[in-house]
């Protein structure tokens, strides 16, 4: 279906339902002026979303835009906020004029047609995706972890989407070959390396894979041994370790793990992995080249950075990284010498100093909810925050997933 047809359809439907107002005499219309959150230093407020779980169309100001279980956010190279609107099966972007627009995704979840030629492209808003989960930016393009499609997609500067990796089914295949011939199993998180390579948390394979920056994006596995989730290997090579990016309770190969396995990459090439279902954060130190997946794999070692692997829990008074208890931590972000952890199952965000491992409870009171705003960080209620990110000014944005909002802790 063409873009224009779709837009007309949507317009016609909304008009028919009385959801649009046509100026005077048609009831109280929605203000077209941007409705932006006002920063309140040191406090948490909502930046996007009304709390209503749904899709009220594009073109609304941030505080008038409905979201449906947003799981992640990122600021694109121009500084604009992009949101993974997970259960709306869309990527949304804040436009220069202050309204949210869909850049990838359409009505109803789905995928490319079967057997689409790999050189085929489609306009982002014509592509159906199924529960996308993460975004990354590289060389002017947006990369999307199309999680339940088992694919990585690429949105180019002209708005066309390409398949980067994966096929119409999950699997674990293709290491040593071109990414377009590889199989993934719930790619959950993406980070870009300094050489242009990309690391992918391949959730249900319980590994981290790399797409090399060569023309065919040659695929390799750089951390974890493909298999069932487990915890092993600290102190040794990352490639021989066991990770728990997907939950152990699931039948192997089954279709429905919760999101897991967020990545954060430091400037020196150190990779932090949210080892979600081991309830801890692992740290992988690259070899002398500073590039994980390049050079001698035996020099790339893994250790536990925060949390007690294998033990879920919550202790708000914890002050050391190794005394920290986490529950299904799912996203990580590095900022100003510290690692921030979206501790999803505890409904909080932690900050852990990289040098000292000093841990500080940063946002959330540990109780799921959405108490009134603005709120002090530790009085704030979140509900399963799956994603976090910083803007250029250092404000901490939180994908407050089950509150259907993006919250901000203002600097």
């Amino acid at each position: 279906m063409g873009d224009a047809t779709q837009a007309l359809k949507t317009l016609a439907r909304r008009a028919a339902l009385g959801l649009l107002s046509f100026g005077a005499g048609c009831g109280p219309g929605e203000a077209l002026a941007p409705s932006q959150a006002k920063p309140i230093p040191g406090m948490v407020t909502t930046a996007v979303g009304t709390g209503t779980q749904g899709f009220d169309g594009d073109g609304h100001a941030p505080l008038k835009t409905w979201l449906n279980q947003p799981t992640e956010l990122a600021f694109d190279p121009s500084g604009q906020l992009e949101i993974v609107d997970w259960n709306n099966h869309r990527i949304r972007r804040l436009s220069a004029s202050g309204s949210f627009e869909t850049i990838v995704g359409a009505e109803l979840p789905g995928d490319w047609p079967l057997d689409v030629p790999l050189d085929e492209t489609v306009v982002g808003t014509a592509l159906h995706v199924n529960h996308p989960l993460d975004l990354a930016f590289s060389a002017g393009e947006t990369f999307i972890a199309a999680w339940h499609n088992h694919k990585i997609e690429r949105l180019d500067a002209n708005g066309a989407v390409h398949v980067v990796a994966g096929a119409n089914r999950p699997g674990y295949a293709g290491d040593g070959g071109a990414a377009q011939a590889a199989l993934l199993n719930f790619p959950a998180s993406l980070v870009v390396q300094t050489d242009g390579g990309m690391l992918v948390a391949d959730e249900r394979n319980n590994v981290v894979r790399r797409l090399a920056p060569d023309e065919s994006r040659t695929m390799s596995t750089v951390a974890g041994v493909k298999g069932k989730p487990a915890y092993a290997g600290d102190g040794g090579p990352a490639a021989e370790a066991a990770l728990g990016l997907s939950p152990a309770a699931e039948v192997d190969g089954s279709d429905n793990p919760p999101p897991g396995g967020g990545l954060a990459l430091a400037e020196d090439g150190t990779l932090y992995v949210a080892d979600t279902f081991n309830h801890c954060v692992r740290r992988i130190t690259p070899g002398a080249d500073g590039l994980l997946g390049v050079g001698d794999a035996s020099e790339e070692t893994i250790e536990t950075f925060a949390g007690s692997c294998g033990q879920a829990g919550y202790d708000p008074s914890a002050t050391a990284g190794d005394a920290l208890l986490l529950r299904d931590p799912s996203d990580l972000e590095l900022y100003a010498g510290a690692l921030y952890i979206a501790d999803t199952g505890n409904h909080v965000v932690w900050r852990v100093e990289l040098e000292t491992s000093q841990a500080t409870l940063w946002v959330g009171n540990g109780q799921p909810g959405s108490r009134p705003e603005p709120s002090a960080p530790l009085e704030t209620q979140l509900n399963r925050p799956y994603g976090i990110g910083f803007d250029a000014a250092g404000n901490l944005y939180i994908a407050d997933t089950m509150n259907n909002r993006i919250r901000v802790l203002w600097q």
Binding site: T52, G54, G253, N256, P257
Partner: protein
């Protein structure tokens, strides 16, 4: 959101006057053949399931209840159950005028957010992923085709709990000839996107195993088999099973097309006619086909060579032609769901045409609701054939004879009055 538009209200009032002047219906009251809204404000939204202090589900006023891509409904007695597909839950409209959550946390998944009791999960603590169809077993329990879980799940109203009935969750084609579970509790059967469930009069359960391109049966003794379609090898879709062949021959040798891969939408739904034939939407072939039992009258028993498949609606080409003529010569566009009245009248959710088609006892097809080929949202209170629908995925007949329509992209359930 803005309030109701004054101009629109005037328009509706004006339309009502026009209708009454023309004698199409009573002064204010829609009548036979008119379409009215049942559930959904038209907004695409999910109402989170909420509980009171005692842990009982709280109802939402009917006028305020919102849906996220409803795809089907079913009746238990006079009570309407609705599949809130992208809300990942099942809801119930009670006689008190409130909508109650029944199954699903609203989060896609397959976990239980509280402790299992005897292997069952409290319905409102259970995650499901894009449930596509529901029906009720002889004991009145709610059977769910948990589509993207690739499982059948059963909800018991007395204990208000949900358990896995069949399917390992692997998207595969496994387990024919045996039971769903082994003696050790092992899951022996795999489905690939089960999209529809229906019982025959003897209590055998039939399952549209969508991406495997087959229809399977769980007999009253628990044995699972394939009764229609042929899939040489499953495992995340069965491309070798896709086709449009076999009419006039044994159903087990035929090929169906229900779509493949991640791109498929719920398709291939089942319904029994009064004579015991199994009808199904062969969605991506754009036809409705019929599977007739052999002399034993039970599909799946006896000699499979005597169970014959044929096409009864559609000529196998996507299109919207044919109203007023023989159904077999007509065109459908991604027919998805069927409802069959006691007199054999067949209603087809002709999703891609944005309408509901009707085939009468003489095999003549007509448009019953919506304008085929024209998506939109309008017409409440007037004749159903003057209304516009938008990708209706589901139809169901109420005990009073009203035809309920899941008007999916309009985010509403509507009905055509008997």
């Amino acid at each position: 959101m803005s309030g109701l538009c004054m101009k629109r209200e005037l328009l509706v009032v004006g339309l009502g006057l026009l209708l009454s002047a023309a004698g199409c219906s009573g002064p204010d009251r829609p009548g036979h053949g008119d379409i009215v809204g049942v559930l959904g404000t038209g907004e695409q939204a999910t109402d989170p399931p909420t509980l009171d202090a005692a842990g009982k589900p709280l109802g939402i006023e009917l006028a305020k209840a919102r849906l996220d891509s409803p795809v089907d409904m079913a009746f238990k007695g006079d009570t309407l159950f609705v599949i809130d597909w992208n809300g990942h839950k099942i809801r119930r409209l009670d006689a008190d005028g409130f909508v109650y959550p029944v199954v699903g946390t609203g989060i896609e998944g397959d976990a239980c957010e509280s402790t299992l009791i005897d292997g069952a999960c409290p319905g409102l603590s259970a995650e499901v992923n894009h449930p596509a169809d529901i029906t009720f077993d002889a004991q009145g329990a709610l059977l769910i085709a948990a589509w993207h879980n690739s499982k059948l799940k059963l909800y018991d109203f007395a204990s208000q709990s949900l358990h896995d009935l069949c399917g390992s969750g692997l998207r595969d084609y496994l387990g024919d000839g045996g039971p769903c579970f082994g003696d050790d509790g092992a899951e022996l059967v795999a489905f690939d996107l089960p999209s529809s469930v229906a019982f025959d009069s003897a209590g055998n359960l039939f399952i549209a195993d969508q991406a495997n391109q087959v229809i399977r049966r769980r007999a009253t003794d628990g044995t699972v088999s394939t009764v229609c379609g042929s899939c040489p090898k499953g495992g995340f879709g069965c491309p070798l099973g896709v086709g449009y062949t076999g009419d006039g021959g044994p159903a087990k040798s035929a090929q169906l097309d229900n779509g493949l891969g991640q791109a498929a939408l719920p398709a291939g739904k089942l319904a029994f006619d009064p004579a015991g034939n199994l009808l199904f939407a062969d969605t991506y072939n754009h036809v409705v086909r019929k599977l007739s039992p052999g002399p034993d009258s039970i599909i799946g028993d006896g000699d499979p060579n005597e169970e014959i498949i044929e096409t009864i609606v559609g000529r196998g080409i996507a299109g919207l032609a044919g109203d007023g003529g023989q159904a077999r010569d007509a065109e459908l566009n991604h027919p998805t769901d069927l409802a069959i009245a006691a007199d054999g009248t067949l209603y087809i959710a002709d999703r891609g045409n944005h309408c509901v088609r009707r085939v009468d006892a003489h095999g003549i097809i007509s448009t019953f609701a919506g304008k085929c080929g024209e998506p939109g949202s309008s017409g409440d209170g007037g004749p159903a054939t003057g209304a516009l629908l938008d990708e209706p995925f589901g139809v169901a007949l109420a005990p009073d004879g009203a035809l309920y329509i899941a008007d999916t992209l309009n985010q509403r359930v509507r009905k055509v009055l008997p």
